[in-house]
């Protein structure tokens, strides 16, 4: 039997999962200022339209296409009392499953995961289901988000109305 070739550094799925759970907990606690700190300043946050999940923000209409500045404005807006759709806030429960991690060059990771985000407000229940695609950067403290994209599996937004919360 030949010895196995020395493998690349193992892909740290458990660490990635821990990171995603922390992110979900910050969103569910409405600690949006802290949540924003997970992102690098060149980061993107995207949600494509339901009928074009492969949507390219340079060419296609997206539901959300935030660079860091717009994402920071989204957080400011949601933290104010004037984002009427989210004041008072929904209770949310961000659930992350089926996490797969792939190494990328330059100390980056590609992470795919399934999500279910439950939203409860004023007697109404909404459920968002889809796939997360992250690009994470290894950093001293763990990871930083370079890109987060939430592709929805629902065929439309009829049952949920809007995407005023952060997925």
């Amino acid at each position: 039997m030949t010895a196995m070739a020395p493998s690349k550094q193992a892909i740290p799925r458990q660490q990635v999962e821990e990171f995603l759970y922390t992110e979900a907990a910050l969103l569910d606690a409405w600690q949006l200022g802290h949540w924003l700190l997970l992102f690098d300043e060149d980061a993107k946050y995207e949600v494509p339209c339901n009928d074009a999940p492969d949507g390219d923000p340079a060419r296609d209409l997206m539901l959300i296409d935030d660079n860091y500045a717009r994402l920071a404005s989204r957080v400011d807006r949601l933290n104010s009392r004037r984002a009427h759709r989210e004041y008072p806030h929904s209770r949310t429960n961000h659930q992350v499953f089926n996490v797969r991690v792939q190494d990328l060059p330059a100390d980056e990771l590609s992470v795919n995961a399934s999500f279910t985000v439950w939203r409860f407000r004023a007697g109404r229940t909404s459920c968002y289901v889809g796939q997360y695609h992250y690009r994470l950067r290894r950093s001293a403290g763990g990871f930083r988000i370079a890109a987060k994209r939430a592709e929805l599996d629902m065929t439309d937004l009829r049952s949920v109305g809007d995407v005023a919360i952060i997925l």
Partner: protein, 436 residues
């Protein structure tokens, strides 16, 4: 100044209601709408019969089906139809989406390209012009099958204006050009502002909420709510360096036949062709070039109207074309008195430079759509109104703002134009006696 177009000759006279739900009192300068117009199941049933079955309704844009055999399917007036470009004729065909045999939906994909449409149930086959081409075991019909009688059923009337395809289920309706009345000129401004050739951008907003559809009509052409409801959007504009001085100012115009528009200047930028900080410094020269092209083609006055003036337009009863920080085309239908299904697209110039397209997309989704900084708060406002109606105690909505003066853009004259036409078309069905 209001430049109302006479809504008279094109419309058959309806018998008027004895106690109308819409009370227009020019003497007292009071305009009121009874809230049962938004809550009554009887009113909703009558709207389906008297309005949605008797108006021109937007189906889609020709740019969605550029090639022979291209199709899209969608509900129009709550009924499944599909629009296909005929392979033989190149015409835009709009068919009832039902097999002439025993009813199954024939087109079961949202969009695509096909020369033939085969029903999966018994394999009857039709071509893109609607002709029945194939029936398995044809010999079983002893008397023979009349293929001509069994072609796909076209929606009674289909006409288009500059690429915007409309259909009506009423065979006797006036032609589309007459129906559109003063709205045609404003569609021209939108289309000419995009260089004359426009397309629907890929990606659709399809969302629903729990309020009456007429509240969305009002909201889509309401200048009055912008500052209060959309405070967070204006704060965002300030944060990226937009100068809010000057605010929103303009006028409201009745375009005839229930159509109406508000046109106004605003602090936000417009991809054609008003620069603002969101677009970035390097965009200034491109915007300046677009602006001078507009002047060359349209003259200074019309170029100003195209470039700097916003338009929120209702095409009665359920099409909105808002030419604001981007152009949105929005249609909606009420499956129930307190539910509205919205479908919205972005309209843009064909062959737009990538940098300009990017700017247009940014402008659109920051304000508009289910993930924007404004639309979710509109949904909250309209659902809030609908819930307020349930409380009772107050019977009437007041829509008098701006009566007795030349209506400005944050008055309510454009809504009154809609409601007058609505009351007229509903006739005796919009009566207090029948709406409880």
């Amino acid at each position: 100044m209001s430049t109302a177009v006479e809504p008279s000759v094109t419309q058959p006279t309806e018998v008027a209601a004895q106690s109308p739900l819409v009370v227009d009192d020019p003497v007292a300068q009071r305009f009121r709408v009874h809230r049962s117009a938004m809550t009554s199941p009887e009113i909703h049933r009558s709207e389906v019969e008297r309005i949605f079955a008797k108006s021109w309704l937007y189906v889609g844009h020709e740019s969605e089906i550029p090639e022979p055999g291209d199709f899209v399917r969608r509900p129009v007036g709550g009924r499944p139809v599909f629009m296909v470009r005929g392979v033989k004729t190149g015409n835009v065909n709009v068919f009832h989406n039902t097999c002439t045999h025993r009813g199954a939906l024939l087109c079961r994909q949202d969009s695509g390209n096909s020369k033939v449409f085969q029903c999966f149930y018994h394999a009857w086959t039709f071509d893109s012009e609607g002709r029945l081409k194939g029936v398995p075991d044809r010999d079983a019909y002893a008397g023979g099958l009349n293929f001509d009688d069994l072609g796909l059923k076209r929606v009674a009337r289909v006409e288009s204006y500059r690429g915007f395809v409309f259909a009506s289920f009423d065979p006797g309706i006036v032609d589309l050009h007459t129906y559109l009345a003063g709205a045609k000129d404003y569609m021209d401004l939108v289309i000419d502002g995009c260089g004359g050739r426009v397309e629907i951008v890929r990606g659709t907003n399809q969302y629903s909420f729990d309020a009456n559809w007429k509240l969305l009509v009002e909201n889509s052409i309401d200048g009055y709510h912008a500052e209060s409801t959309h405070d967070t959007y204006f704060k965002y504009l300030v944060s990226i360096g937009t100068d809010l001085r000057g605010g929103v100012s303009g006028r409201a115009i009745d375009l005839g036949n229930g159509h109406a528009v508000i046109e106004y200047s605003s602090p936000w930028g417009r991809p054609v062709a008003k620069w603002e900080p969101l677009f970035g410094e390097d965009a200034r020269t491109e915007i300046d070039r677009l602006r001078s092209d507009l002047v060359a083609r349209n003259g200074e006055d019309r170029a100003h109207t195209i470039a700097e003036v916003n338009r929120n337009m209702l095409i009665y009863p359920n099409l909105i074309i808002n030419d604001i920080m981007a152009v949105t085309v929005r249609t909606f239908y009420p499956p129930a008195p307190d539910v509205v299904d919205v479908t919205a697209w972005e309209l843009a110039p064909v062959d737009e430079l990538p940098s300009l397209r990017q700017r247009r997309l940014d402008s659109f989704l920051t304000f508009l759509g289910p993930g924007g900084f404004a639309t979710p708060d509109d949904l909250e406002a309209l659902e809030s109104c609908q819930q307020g109606f349930v409380s009772g105690g107050v019977e009437w909505n007041d829509i008098s703002r701006g009566m007795g003066r030349s209506p400005v853009a944050n008055d309510e004259e454009q809504m009154r134009a809609f409601w007058r036409r609505w009351q007229h078309q509903m006739g005796t069905a919009a009566d207090l006696a029948g709406a409880r």
